[in-house]
């Protein structure tokens, strides 16, 4: 029997405190409860999700722009951008549209359901670097979901930033998300422009695309944009291409513009390769990229 090789227990001596390097952490998920479901539109709902263990909940920290993997055992696991403010720690909010297997299941669940949360994963919007500067927060469609976290973070630290402009475009008024918060955002001295492509009879706001609003704003700002402005852009690739090009022409440096890319991740940990753009992992090097990096990614937009 002396010739039997010893079995190597890879978890021996592993503490479990280094989430990114411990072998035992890979498949660990926080148990979490869907504490509330708030319907936003016909297709999107806001899920309030709370990590069950109070200690873990407190210790759970993330930065705006990061995502979590949400798992429903037996149904599936998928990545979602966190839509809540980082000050809420492990009491997160996810804005989810029912489009796939998992999300169609989620559309039917009620509060009280136990789910698994892993993360947070990925890069974030560098809000610390933006201190003292003007910020453009530009969203198209469901892009408001990843944008809401930096929006709330800016609200909570309003004194640190100069002008804050949110431009939010949707196809039609019925698809607008978080309508109940617009007044609050405005009261916190944030300029909020909402524009739709196809108005309905009750719509009395502007009609067009986000770039229409943006064009006016950049013309007004003139040459100042080159050294006092950051931009965060979330939306479909075709939108941020136009938006970022407009901002580039207006003088905003590429490395001061941030976009969030979306891919279908199966692991979130740089292993499954499903989210690769060119040959870059969206889950590790992204989802938040500066525009310069996006320009250097093949097939990103």
């Amino acid at each position: 029997m002396e010739n039997r090789l010893p079995f190597v227990d890879i978890l021996k001596g592993v503490s479990g405190f280094q989430r990114k390097s411990d072998l035992g952490s890979f498949e660990y998920s926080y148990k979490a409860e869907i504490t509330n479901v708030y319907p936003l539109t016909q297709n999107e709902k806001l899920y309030q999700i709370q990590i069950v263990d109070p200690d873990m909940r407190r210790r759970f920290t993330f930065r705006p722009g990061q995502f979590v993997m949400l798992e429903v055992p037996g149904v599936g696991e998928a990545p979602f951008s966190i839509s809540s403010s980082p000050v809420r720690h492990g009491d997160i909010e996810l804005c989810i549209r029912n489009v796939g297997n998992l999300t169609n299941f989620l559309a039917r669940v009620e509060r009280g359901v136990q789910v698994g949360i892993t993360g947070p994963f990925g890069t974030s919007f560098p809000l610390e670097d933006m201190i003292g500067q003007n910020i453009f927060l530009i969203a198209g469609g469901l892009g408001i979901a990843p944008l809401r976290s930096p929006v709330l973070s800016v609200l909570e630290n309003r004194s640190r930033y100069a002008n804050v402009d949110i431009i939010y475009g949707a196809r039609q008024p019925s698809e607008l998300l978080f309508t109940y918060q617009y007044d609050m955002w405005r009261k916190f001295d944030i300029s909020l422009d909402i524009i739709v492509e196809k108005p309905d009879t009750q719509w009395n706001g502007p009609v067009g695309r986000t770039t229409d609003v943006l064009r006016e704003k950049v013309t007004k700002a003139g040459s100042l944009l080159s050294n006092n402005t950051y931009a965060i852009v979330c939306g479909p690739p075709v939108m941020f291409k136009f938006v970022c090009n407009m901002l580039t022409e207006a003088g905003v440096p590429m490395q001061k513009m941030f976009v969030s890319l979306e891919r279908r991740m199966h692991c979130g940990r740089g292993k499954c390769c499903r989210c690769n753009v060119g040959s870059t992992y969206t889950c590790l090097k992204g989802p938040v990229f500066d525009y310069w990096s996006v320009m250097n990614l093949k097939e990103a937009i």
């Binding site: 039997r4 190597v8 390097s21 149904v75 599936g76 199966h266 740089g270 390769c273 060119g278 040959s279």
Partner: protein
């Protein structure tokens, strides 16, 4: 490193010593349509089954490290929630008897992304750490281009490595486990003539490579030729079947699926190896596909292997084993694709493969 000389008959002794463990090695499984033996890595119970002079196995050793299907965790579901239990799916150490340098290098490359980066994979780690690997020198085949990829010899990632010197083996001893096993059998210190013979053989092996791939500046060239028509030429040929990924020793991409047990009391999360050539590889919920055309997927595969991995780890993810070229139903070969991308010239007619 410690070197030893092992007389050929002693190898059977070594096998017997190691047989206290489960041994996996190259065996002949059948014969191809053109009469060549087909080899696979399988559990070996008898030293005589072991074909140490094998050319190359049809499929790589990968399935013992990254099985094509693997359960990541199981859930027991009850009234108020669920419990998750995780198993890394290996419960005893294995001995790998007779792995070529390309396949060892493939594991070393996988180590970089699966073990040494952020979020190391325990499923792979548990198998990798419980594998005692004996490497063996090979004879270059017409489809091999490991020398071009710098993977024709292995420097680490194994326990011992054998080179056939005729009536004896030249043994590189890399781990203490290997050193201890060798105490059980008769070995001796290598002499000058053994060194000379070893070097003779290495030089001979180097002369045998017939397929050369020019990898100079390849990462940069792939970027420059991203829009090249050559990709479309290969994309039109590609059947998007994913065979190349399944026989590749370094392809690790996967998909995850969950299922509920039939009694509704449990659920499973399963991982299956995937291929970036399969049509839905980059499809997202809602149906948008980031790579709907076959040439974009084929290009992506080369991109990841020869550029992305290079950018991250300063080396290519291809070991030049040639399995994908051999297995490809559309007869797409890596050396030809790379040559055409470099030159920008589509092959006019199909060159006869390997002088056949």
């Amino acid at each position: 490193m410690i070197f030893r000389i092992l007389n050929k008959p002693e190898l059977r002794e070594l096998f017997d010593v190691l047989a206290a463990n489960r041994i996996i090695g190259p065996v002949q499984k059948g014969t191809s349509h053109d009469g060549k033996p087909l080899y696979v890595f399988e559990p070996v119970f008898d030293f005589n089954e072991l074909k140490l002079d094998y050319t190359s196995t049809t499929r790589p050793a990968k399935r013992y490290f990254l099985p094509s299907h693997e359960t990541l965790c199981t859930f027991s579901i009850h009234e108020n929630g669920w419990e998750k239990s995780v198993d890394f799916n290996i419960h005893e150490p294995h001995v790998f008897f007779g792995m070529h340098a390309c396949d060892i290098n493939a594991l070393d490359k996988l180590d970089k992304v699966l073990l040494e980066s952020n979020f190391p994979t325990p499923y792979y780690a548990a198998k990798r750490k419980n594998m005692f690997i004996i490497g063996i020198e090979c004879t270059p085949q017409p489809f091999c281009f490991c020398r071009s990829m710098g993977t024709d010899s292995a420097f680490h990632g194994f326990d011992m490595f054998l080179t056939d010197l005729g009536d004896r083996y030249f043994v590189e001893v890399q781990s203490v486990a290997a050193f201890n096993f060798l105490k059980n059998i008769k070995t001796r210190e290598p002499e000058e003539k053994d060194h000379a013979r070893y070097m003779e053989l290495v030089a001979e092996k180097n002369r045998m490579f017939t397929t050369i791939v020019d990898t100079t500046d390849l990462a940069k060239i792939l970027d420059m030729e991203f829009q090249s028509d050559v990709w479309k030429y290969w994309g039109d040929k590609c059947l998007s079947c994913g065979t190349c990924a399944s026989v590749c020793p370094t392809c690790y991409c996967y998909g995850v699926e969950e299922s509920v047990d039939i009694d509704l009391k449990g659920a499973k999360k399963k991982k299956h190896l995937y291929s970036c050539n399969l049509i839905d590889f980059a499809e997202v919920a809602g149906g948008h596909n980031f790579r709907p055309e076959s040439h974009t997927r084929l290009k992506y595969r080369y991109y990841h292997k020869h550029r992305g991995f290079m950018e991250e780890f300063e080396e290519s993810l291809c070991v030049g084993c040639g399995r994908c070229s051999e297995a490809c139903l559309a007869k797409i070969t890596v050396p030809e694709v790379i040559a055409s991308v470099r030159s920008g010239v589509k092959p006019k007619r199909r060159s006869s493969r390997h002088g056949k």
